[in-house]
């Protein structure tokens, strides 16, 4: 199962920008180093340049003059995709409709003139690995979306590529299937130990799969880091707000206290220039009655989710605060609540 044949490759981009013939700048000059065997997720809204970057790595696009793509230190900038030995998985599956499932999976090996017996063995191995052995002789139009993406993965891996490139592979699937396949892809990438690049606009997918996440915005890298770093220490407001939920309070700092409309927060390390603080829903809680508190708000909406209650609390700001409460308490609209914020979760950007 761990057999990819080829040693995982390290990939480096230096000064890679991309301008399309119509003058659109899809990608600003970019430098990026991807370690061998690592799973890197390119995350961002549509039009942020993540797919363009993937296509430059794949060899489907060439960077503007001056840009370089290196595989294990070797310049492959002008090497077309068919000579780079990379596996690709597309959102639209892109399976060959004129071939069976087995024909699709064995295609890359047939191109490489591998003897028939070996192709057959490798195809059965792939079918078993993706748990689709019974579909071997089916036509593509007889498969469901989830089955098609399994075939596409098997087809890409069968040739033992040096890197696996996945372009929004789960976007076309329904939510439940997406979760199942995400788990499968995760364990697949771990067991193969292959260098993988995964493009998505779904932050939950990015957090779950990526060893590192490259957050992109307007053709630029906004931040590169481990999922935890990106979430807890976002470098820009864009990253902070694109990933997860962010609460925001405006006010001013004096004597180690941040004061806003709803009250004051004791924060000894507060930078004196801060006029806005950001924090995650898990860093704020509703205090028990009787507990001392500096912040007060009014419940604008409460949604009981079973294990917790999601509260929207009005504190006189443009946006209500989002709070996840696990208290065994029945909140209702208009309740006055005391709030406490963990200063360790406070960010100034």
């Amino acid at each position: 199962m761990t057999d990819t044949g080829n040693k995982p490759v390290s990939i480096a981009l230096t000064n890679c920008s991309k301008t399309f013939p119509d003058g659109t700048r899809a990608l600003e000059p970019l430098d990026l180093a991807i370690h061998a065997g690592e799973t890197v997720v390119f995350l961002g809204p549509s039009g942020c340049g993540k797919t363009t970057t993937l296509r430059i790595i794949a060899g489907l696009e060439e960077p503007d003059a001056g840009g370089k793509v290196l595989f294990d230190g070797v310049d492959v900038t002008h090497l077309p995709i068919e000579q780079r030995n990379v596996g690709m998985v597309f959102q639209s599956y892109a399976l060959f409709p004129n071939m069976t499932v087995a024909g699709n999976i064995g295609y890359g090996l047939k191109i490489r003139k591998v003897p028939d017996a070996q192709i057959k063995a490798r195809v059965s191995e792939m079918l078993a690995m993706m748990q689709i052995t019974r579909l071997a002789d089916r036509r593509i139009d007889q498969l469901s979306g989830g089955q098609r993406q399994r075939v596409a993965l098997a087809r890409a891996i069968a040739v033992r590529p040096r890197a696996l490139l996945l372009d929004e592979p789960l976007t076309a699937l329904d939510a439940k299937l997406r979760d199942t396949l995400r788990l499968e892809i995760d364990s697949l990438l771990r067991s193969l130990g292959i260098t993988a690049i995964y493009v998505t606009h779904d932050q939950a997918e990015a957090m779950a799969l990526g060893d590192r996440i490259v957050v992109m915005e307007h053709g630029r890298v906004a931040q590169i880091g481990k999922p935890r770093e990106i979430y807890q220490r976002p470098a820009t407001r864009f990253v902070a707000e694109f990933i997860g939920t962010m609460n925001r309070l405006t006010g001013s700092v004096s004597n180690g206290t941040f004061t806003c409309k709803a009250g004051g927060i004791a924060w000894p390390e507060a930078p004196s220039s801060a006029t806005e603080i950001l924090f995650r829903p898990e860093d704020i809680r509703v205090v028990e009655s009787g507990e001392a508190t500096g912040l007060k708000g009014t419940v604008a909406a409460a949604f009981f989710l079973g294990d917790r209650t999601r509260l929207f609390v009005d504190v006189g700001e443009a946006q209500p605060l989002v709070i996840e409460s696990t208290a065994r308490r029945d909140f209702s609209h208009g309740d006055r609540v005391g709030l406490a914020i963990d200063p360790r979760g406070l960010l100034v950007l």
Binding site: M88, Y107, G108, V159
Partner: protein
């Protein structure tokens, strides 16, 4: 239930009437006229035994097949190119390529003569270059050229429409698996265009079999079946033979197309 049946019969009626009036009855009549001549039913046998008829039947099929093959190659390459590469004048070029649709066969024949006839352009150029005049307008090659010329507009639009529906991701997937441009053509583009090739090719073949005007204009040494039918009908007044030949021409064309469709059928179905 009975009501439903009556409704279906009613809906079938227009097609049934047209089929009977314009196809079944004339074909049946043609078939019987074919057997009503001096030689009786032997007229049908003559098509296979008389070398004049058999040769003309075979050369008609050969020219039509060659025309279809050449047209599909040319339309396939140009159609995919014009669909993929938009350049200034692209739309104009496409509409120019479909221009010959309106020309009667006589005009096409005339154009072939102007190009490859005794005073034609090709003749003048070859004479200047080699001292010998190349003239082929009045041979089967001239006929072939004229047929290809009027077949291209009939196929190129179909091919372009099909090329537009080809998923570029399929080609990228094939390339990522190591396929050269040539393999991409064989494994992705041609299978993707196959249904269009079959339907356009069928029309192309049938039109080439029945084309008369071009052959008539280029007359000289060409002996395609529509010309033979014309000669039997008007000059020899051998109406029975003309009818027999017409009937066989229709049946053979239909058979060739049916066989081609069946042969391609399984893979077309697989292409979904």
């Amino acid at each position: 239930m009975r009501h439903e049946t009556r409704r279906l019969i009613l809906l079938l009626l227009p097609a049934g009437i047209v089929f009977a009036a314009f196809f079944l009855l004339p074909m049946a009549r043609l078939f019987f006229i074919g057997g009503s001549g001096k030689t009786g039913w032997a007229a049908y046998a003559a098509i296979l035994t008389d070398s004049l008829y058999l040769d003309s039947l075979l050369s008609t099929m050969a020219v039509a097949a060659a025309t279809t093959a050449a047209t599909l190659v040319i339309s396939g390459i140009s159609g995919v190119f014009l669909q993929r590469h938009k350049f200034p004048g692209n739309a104009l070029l496409v509409s120019m390529l479909t221009f010959p649709l309106a020309f009667p066969g006589v005009v096409i024949g005339f154009m072939v003569i102007m190009l490859a006839g005794r005073q034609g352009l090709i003749g003048q150029v070859t004479q200047a270059l080699t001292g010998e005049k190349l003239v082929f307008a009045y041979t089967i090659a001239g006929l072939f050229m004229g047929y290809v010329y009027f077949s291209i507009p009939r196929t190129i639009l179909t091919v372009m429409a099909a090329a537009e529906k080809l998923d570029p991701k399929l080609e990228e997937a094939a390339r990522s698996l190591g396929a050269s441009p040539w393999r991409v053509l064989l494994d992705v583009i041609i299978p993707g265009l196959k249904p269009a090739f079959i339907s356009a090719g069928a029309i192309c073949f049938a039109t080439a079999v029945g084309a008369f005007g071009t052959a008539f204009t280029l007359a000289a040494k060409i002996n395609v079946l529509p010309m033979v039918i014309y000669t039997e009908f008007t000059l020899s007044a051998n109406i029975a033979m003309a009818a027999a030949l017409s009937f066989v021409l229709g049946i053979v064309t239909w058979l060739v197309l049916a066989v081609a469709r069946t042969a391609a059928g399984s893979s077309v179905a697989a292409a979904g």
